[in-house]
Amino acid sequence: MNGKRILWLMVTMLILGSLIAGCGPAATPVVVEKEKVVEKPVVQTVVVEKEVPVEKEVVKTVVVEKEVVVTATPERKEPVILRLGQNAADLHSLDPHFATTTQDRSLVDMVFNGLVRYKPGDGSVIEPDLAEELPEPEMVDGKQVWIFRLRRGVMCHPTDTTPSYELTAEDVVYSLQKSANPERSAYAGEYTGMTVEALDDYTVKITLDKPLSPVLFFPKVANYSGGFIVCKKAIEAMGDDAFKTHPVGTGPFMVQSYSPGEKVMLVANDAYFRGRPLLDGVEFRYMPDISSREAGLLAGELDVINGLTDEVWVDKMSKEEGIRVDVFGVGEVATVHFNTTVEPLDDPKVRKAIAYALDRDEFLALFGEPVAENVYSPVPAKFLPGGLTRAEVEKLGLAYDVDREKAKQMLAEAGYPNGFSLEVVTSEMTGYRRIYESMQAQLAEVGIDLKVNVVDHSTMHKLIREDVNPIVVYIAWRPNADVYLTRFFHSDSIVVTGAKPDTNFSHYDQIDDLIEAARVETDPDKQVDLWKQAQIKILEDMVAYPLQYHQQVYARSEAVDYGHELISVLALYPGITENTRIVK
């Protein structure tokens, strides 16, 4: 009897204990947001009737500054963890020089820095990161030299084997040499002809055999791909293989643990050189199923999720209470490449006829604005210098707006009054399949019979590189105009037969000189001009039909404030920085 009583007592205490624990205060750093009203001169366009609009300086009372007071996290409160559901089954590699997939890029973005960085939320602006300022290049003995002065007090994350230590020029040299080593980096090709040396602990000298404009040089040392700076002592102590799942950098967050196929836990780096992050950590969960991510967000178990590139999904989620959907760049560009070596596509008239038979707006409707938008040149003008805008191609008569009568007439002139048939493979992925299927229906209108065979995604990639498709749809983001043009239109990159076979599916070899001249042109304006000329030639010869770009879609709880405006992020996620917070 006594024993039974004790048991009851224990159970009651256990229940009471858990109830009391459960009623504890919700834990968040206290963030008080005050709006400050200030008078500030602003430039405003004042339109006076019957006069031309003039810009005048007027004094207006506007709310322009937000005063944010953040107190330290009060003791005994639970940590504020941002929970992100990413569309992936697992990581591939968190060694930043092997991180090529969206899920890996977003993680390494939080862990590492570059010498320079893309401004959070706006990939079109480059600003200093580990370097104190953006250097100007100088020419020494016919070679271009860039000198970077490093910030002091940048600390590498501590690990079990290496304590935290200050990042110096030695780490930067080691890191860039690693990026150039094909055994230790997926981006080695971009670092040939580059010599890196440490002048002292805080000065790094980079010498280029061939000069580059800032537009092409800075991405190599920015927080993207091979430009991420790793901590030498940490990687040497643990080895490259362990580094793949336990990367060590200098960024705002540090990898705490990795559960394969489940999640990666990141914790705030207290010693981060831009200040301690407002979040205490990030829980990065691998959730390949969209309905599961959606349920997690709606149930309040996730704060941010990777959404669907689909207008319908964006509309649906936007209507949910407490949920915000962000659609932002960078956009992955879908381009239709024509193999100019196979009949009947070797005839420019036929290619132009196909271009006139295709209707960009019909393709656009498959995904809907603003998730997708039309493009008019292989390099997207909205995100990168060197692209052609709608107005520019229209002026040149190279917009190729749909005109199926004209298409039929051109086909007849080329000797195909009754059309012809072509066979292609497509990936099973919606982004590709929808485009090919719509193309099939559109080409049927002018008598072209397109047979579409569906294969799995990686098989499509393999087959198109074996030159199986006469028409290739390719959806990709590339960091600058040079990479777009080199990899898709330089003769070295021609599939199968090129010197360095890559993704030149059209077998085009007419703009090598323009691409090469642009690459070494150090005057940004002249460089942009050369890129534009190259693309005008592509459109004149109609070797590729620029279709549309697909933007990134993420949904978040409205409590999440990324800490920056979202225009474009190269890492293909909203960007989580030291300024990201959850406002309860």
Binding site: T100, P182, A242, S259, D289, A295, E301, D502
Partner: protein, 312 residues
């Protein structure tokens, strides 16, 4: 008895070997390359080639086969081609979640299914019987992943009673149990419908037997007749359907784990397929096969317990 068990286990070795060989061949026939999958389309050919070499994919197939087989025979599940971590470590981490889910589902399926089957059998052709049959037919027709989504919508989003995603921390039993409820209901209720149908028909067969009438004629209470005389005889087919379900639950748990983003062997399997992680894929399939073999063995042994006429 012991000899029977040892023989059965010994016989399962060639089965596992056949499964391993089949999986080894099949994963290499399906298109896609682990190195390309790992590096994406931006990486250079050179980088992909270097990774292939490191993953051991450039070795002749027979060398790869013998290497994997050798490891497996030593009880080593190998190293994941993607994460570079021992697969056994990953399996050890996720296996408790899958086992929890499978056992909880069987428990729900059995505890609800058998009484419901008996109940409807004893009320044959009444409204309750019809209702039960309609519901069980519906249950049989619903795919697990769809039912799972419906449960999430209602119990996690509308009334916020249980968590929608994740598996909970194993060290926190309450949290862990909360995460188990919806996925276990998803699989368990579907299993219930099947067990109910089978129990009902098995009971109907038995209830019309002479010895049941004799039992009633003896003046036994109806409860004793049903449970002691009828149900016990009806148990053999019921146990075989539970055994079959246990095996198929392992398959159903794959989609359920994905829908609930719950750690487990199934989610690991999907990840391995998506990433073409041959090493992990082979090992997981062998583990699944071992499970099915084990379940069949256990089912056989239980027959003997229920029906002493069956001896091993």
């Amino acid at each position: 008895m012991l000899r029977y068990i040892v023989t059965r286990i010994a016989l399962s070795i060639p089965i596992l070997l056949a499964v391993f060989t089949l999986v080894f061949i099949v994963v290499r026939i399906i298109p896609g390359d682990p190195a390309e999958a790992a590096l994406g389309d931006y990486a250079s050919k050179q980088a992909v080639e270097a990774l292939r070499e490191r993953m051991g994919l450039n070795d002749p197939l027979i060398v790869q086969y013998l290497r994997f087989l050798g490891d497996l025979l030593r009880g080593d599940l190998g190293i994941s081609m993607i994460s570079g971590k021992p697969i056994s470590e990953q399996v050890a981490h996720v296996l408790p979640y899958t086992l929890q889910l499978t056992f909880a589902s069987i428990l729900i399926g059995t505890l609800f299914g058998i009484p419901l089957g008996v109940f409807t059998a004893t009320r044959r052709n009444t409204f309750i019987d019809y209702l039960g049959r309609i519901i069980s037919l519906a249950g049989l027709s619903v795919p697990a992943f769809y039912f799972g989504i419906l449960l999430i919508l209602f119990f996690a989003i509308k009334i916020d009673l249980f968590p929608a995603v994740g598996g909970g921390d194993l060290k926190k039993p309450v949290e862990n149990l909360k995460h188990l409820v919806l996925p276990a209901l998803t699989l368990g209720l579907i299993m219930t419908t099947s067990v109910t149908r089978l129990t009902r028909s098995a009971m109907l067969n038995v209830l019309s037997e002479d010895y049941v009438r004799t039992a009633r004629a003896k003046g036994l209470r109806e409860r004793a007749v049903i449970i002691k005389h009828a149900l016990r005889s009806a148990m053999v087919p019921i146990i075989s359907i539970i055994g079959l379900w246990a095996a198929s639950l392992i398959g159903d748990s794959v989609m359920t784990e994905v829908v609930f983003s719950r750690p487990g062997l199934g989610k690991m399997l999907v990840g391995a397929i998506m990433q073409r992680d041959y090493a992990a894929l082979q090992s997981i399939m062998v583990i699944y096969a071992a499970f099915v073999v084990l379940i069949n063995l256990v089912t056989d042994l239980i027959y003997g317990l229920v029906d002493p006429r069956i001896s091993h």
